[in-house]
Structures are given as C-alpha cells and as structure tokens.
Symmetry: C2
Subunit: 339 residues, 2 copies
C-alpha cells in the first residue's frame, strides 16, 4: 500500500504520478511488461499463451469466453459449483449449446462434483476453481483432451498451477493480485479466431493480443499495483512458498473447526477451500454473540453469505497466519466460556 | 494526488486502504454515491437519466451504444470528425445500418462539418465532441428531435453541458475526470431495453442501472480518484468557472499562434479545441529545434500525432495557465532568436 501510494505521488522519482502518466509512456510500458513477465515466471506460462490485462472483470469473461471460442452451433461443457459458475453458464447460453456435466446445487454447492463424463465434441470444459460463497475449491483438475477453462478469480496466485492443462485462465484481480479494475487472461493463442464470428474489437481476444493489452487505454493504476503484488509474491519465494503458507493458514483454522464442538465446517472435507473457510454453529442462537466476540478481537467481515449462513473467513494471500491465530483463539476462548 | 495517495494508505482514518475495502462496504458506497451526486450537480443531470460508472473505456461504449439502442434493421446516424468517430462507426456497423451524415476526412479532419441533413428515421445521432488528434471541438450541438449521443471522453467537465439535449453521453475518465479504468455513462432511462436483443448481462445498460454500477466489482480506486477530482471542480466554482479558465488558457495559446509568424494553427478557427491545440511551423525544418527549446523549458509531450504532424498542446483541466504562459514565452523567445 505504501509503495502504491508512493507511485501515486512520484513514480520512480520521475516527478510524475502513476495517475497522470500516459499508457504509451516508457514508464508504463516497463510496468506492464514487468507485470506480464512476473505472471509468466510465477505461473510458468509458455510462449504458446498470451498474457492479457483487460478491464470488465471476470463477469466480462463469462461472455467473452463463449463469444470468442464457440462458433454457431458449437457446444461447451460446464461444471456448476456455485453462483459464479451459474453466471458463466447463463452467459454462455447466449452463444451456443451448453451442457452442464454436473452440479452440486441440490446440496447447496457444498462439494465439487467428481463423477461426470466429458463429451468429446465439446469445444471446452469450464470450471470455477474456487467458490467464494460455498468455501469449496478444486484440489485436482479433470483429465481431458478438450481445452480446460477456469475462472480463477478467487485463488489465482495462491498456489502453483500447471497452466499447460488449460486453454484459458481468467481472473479478476481483486483477491490475490491487486485492486479491482483489471482482469488477467491467459489464453492459448491457437484457440483464438476460430469461432467465425465478427466481434466488436474490444471483445475480441485477438485485438488485445495484437495490441499487447494497449489497444485502448488500460487500467493503469490497477496494473501498477498488481505488478507490485506480483513482485512481492516473487520475493516471498514464489507460488510454492505461498501455497505452503496458505495451507498452514487453512489447516490451523479447519483443525479448530473440526476439534471445537461449537463449530462445524460446511464444505466436503476433500473439497475445502484454502481461500474461503465456511463454517456454522450447530447451536445457531450463539452465532450473534460469537460474531461480536470476533469483532471485539479485530476479526471483521466474518459473516457468511446469506445462502450458506454462519461464518466465512476469507483468508487470501494478504491475510497473515497471525490473523488466523487470533480467530482460532477467539473460537477457543468462546468455547471455554460457553462450557 | 496527495489525497488519492492518502486514501491508498488509510481511507477516512479507517485504518483500511481504498485498495482493500470491499465494493459493498459502507465506505465505498459513500464514495460512489458522492461521485454520482457530484456528476448530477456539476452537469445538471435530472432523474430522467442514469449515471453509471463502468469499466472497458470509451472503446467499449463504441459497441455498447448500438448494441443497446439499435434493433435489428434499425439505422443510426454518425458524424465523422476523426479517428475516434471512425472507430465508433466501425463498431456500430456490426449492429445495424449506419449513415455517416458528414465527414471532414478529405480535409484531414481539420474542421467540424456543419452542413448535413439528419434523417428522421435514425435511432440516434452520434458525434465526438472533441477530437484529440486534430484539435477540433464542437462549440454547438446539432438541432434534432432524435437522441443525440456524444463521446465526450476528452472534454467532459471542461465546460457546462446542456444534458437535456442528449440521449446518452459517455466518457473515459482519463482526461478531466480521473485515472484510466473507469468510464462515465449518462443515459436517458427511457431509451433502454427497446432493441429487442438479448445481451450479455455486463453489456446491458439495464443491468448496471439496476445494480447501481455495482452489478460486478467496479473499478474502486479509479472511482475514488474521480470523486476527488469532481470535488475539486466543485470547489473551483463548478463548470462555468472551469470553462472560463479553459477559454483563457486556449486564447493565450491561440493568440500567440496567430500572432507569431513562425506558427500556424491546423484547425478551422470556429472549431478550435480548448483541450488540444494543434499547430505546425510553416518552416518545417525548425520543428526539431523548437521542440528541443520547449523541452528545455519543461514543456513536454508536445509532439503532434503523426497524422497531423507539428505540435499538439493538450491543455486539459489539470494544466494551469502558467504552463501555457511558459510555452507562449518559449514561442516568443524562439521567434526572436530566429529573426
């Protein structure tokens, strides 16, 4: 934050703010190139893939993916693991046939479906790697010869990814990468330009590949802060190190949930998210006073989404282990006092 | 910049950065509501219009406007005054019939066409209010009963606008409103939802009207800085005061261009832009050494766009009169030394 603020006043001692430099300036070119380079290095992205910094959020990728990859009459396969998947499915239906291979909706999305057949004529298989509301996360990837596409908005840069398994990965920046306003798209170049559609320039991946994300004025400041965040991840030791920390954090909290009789996790154990830990209190009338105890200890924004209830601890990269320890201590103290 | 940087560290003494607060938080709700209120107050926008803060830049409005307002078989009228108009025309052709009523292209876009007939069956008439590359600007609006639509990316908030004359106004923020990454759309609500098209949610103005610009995660920081800029404009005395300053700045520079035999304006006098002042040197071989003299005096980024050549002084709201005076002094000194 301090470094981002410094850039907002005086970037690289240029006397100019990141808020006023041109997106065609040498300073910004260096920033966006370093951001791309860091994405490639941290995730191991080969030259077969383009790395794009777009605007419009992951919500825009919900339709840009089918618009760019599905021709008239083509079919795409989707896995439905929550509200983000559902939105992606809804938008895809505007551009082709959609087969939902599996859905955990009947169980309030509390697990990741594992049994499904992937039709070989599907143009791609789309999944949401982490489900913020329901606290589930893929800990494996489907084996398939068709391109795998994933919305990784809420867990990108939280762990290493074998990018080669994917045709396209997209992610809104605002969880682990930077501030709201920029969307990362990693796309295998050979998938582009085959839909037979004439697209508005801004909605055509090819435009942004040719323009190197500078076809139009990009979101300069969000890209700058993302670059700073990626530098920090590299300094931490890269994604293997980040994954270790995230697993330690998640384990600390899930262990307490499993050990403490006042709490109960909502997601299937194998599919538990390392980013969003969802849990309830079987004695529901205690939830209000427990939430108050959390807030008094400085643990805020813990209220679960209305469709799950209870609590949700969002423990993205920026959350330190100490933050989790504080919450675990509150849970223990609360249980002791309750006895 | 200082205030924006302060917000990046500690917003309203909350201990949280604008870069980490949720777009659903009370702090951000207050920011986006104040930004909307300031837009309404400064431009005099009535409740018949929605005020939206979107992402994707003006380039996305090039296609969102026809996608939302043109039905199959409908026709839209466009005025072609430069490269931004041309891009808007190109995208509109994907969604309906386009009639270009007039174009100044044969004269390298050095004027704003004034003689044209507006077909009454057109759904709207689109124009680009200020043309950054060619240094021209509308100083009047066409009289018509069909909705007028304007890309005001490069001169919004530089002067008062009679919004009632328009069906829709859009503007990328990065000239007079804030940093790159947010786009202002002011749209008369009764125009929406009549195209008969089923649009992706993110591309449907109705989605953003219903979601109050919060359907998806909006570009939080660019909206915050825009709000700060709008506060500053209000403090300056509003748009009448800003217009006066901009006219004084432009007059100072154009007067020197007209008086100094070494320089020549490129745009028709009646259509001269108060935002981008374009000029050349009839003795073209002097241009390089003049540019050097400018840079030595601290006047930078003066090189004209390759399609016009010569020089372009972009004197948006952020440029003080003193900056123009410095440039005028360089022009005078240079002419004296040259004699």
């Amino acid at each position: 934050m301090e470094e981002a603020a410094q850039g907002a006043i005086n970037l690289n001692n240029s006397g100019l703010s990141i808020l006023e430099i041109s997106h065609r300036s040498a300073d910004f070119t260096a920033i966006i190139q370093e951001a791309e380079q860091l994405v490639r290095e941290l995730l191991g992205v080969s030259d077969d893939y383009a790395v794009l910094f777009l605007s419009g959020g992951a919500s825009s990728q919900f339709f840009m993916v089918p618009m760019n990859l599905l021709g008239e009459g083509d079919m795409a396969a989707y896995l439905d693991t929550g509200s983000w998947s559902s939105k992606a499915i809804k938008e895809a239906k505007l551009f082709g046939k959609v087969e939902v291979l599996a859905s955990s909706k009947p169980d309030n999305y509390n697990y990741i479906p594992k049994e499904f057949a992937i039709p070989t004529n599907a143009k791609y298989l789309h999944l949401t790697s982490n489900n913020t509301i329901y606290g589930t996360q893929y800990q494996w990837w489907p084996e398939t010869n068709i391109p795998l596409i994933s919305d990784m908005s809420s867990d990108i840069f939280s762990r290493p990814i074998d990018v080669q398994k994917f045709g396209l990965i997209y992610a809104g920046a605002q969880k682990n990468m930077g501030p709201a306003g920029v969307t990362l798209v990693i796309v295998r170049k050979d998938l582009i330009g085959k839909s037979g559609r004439t697209l508005p320039s801004m909605l055509d991946y090819q435009t942004h590949i040719e323009g190197e994300s500078l076809y139009n004025t990009p979101p300069v400041f969000p890209i700058y802060v993302s670059m700073l965040t990626l530098r920090w991840i590299k300094k931490m030791g890269g994604l293997a190190a980040v994954k270790k920390i995230n697993e330690d954090k998640a384990k600390l909290l899930y262990d307490e949930i499993d050990a403490n009789p006042l709490f109960k996790g909502t997601a299937a154990i194998d599919d538990r998210s390392r980013m969003n830990v969802t849990f309830v209190m079987p004695e529901q009338d205690l939830e209000k006073s427990f939430l108050k105890a959390c807030e008094e200890a400085g643990c805020v924004e813990l209220k679960g989404h209305r469709s799950v209830g209870g609590f949700r601890a969002s423990i993205y990269n920026a959350m330190p282990l100490e933050g989790i320890q504080t919450l675990v201590n509150v849970m223990r103290d609360y249980a002791e006092k309750h006895d």
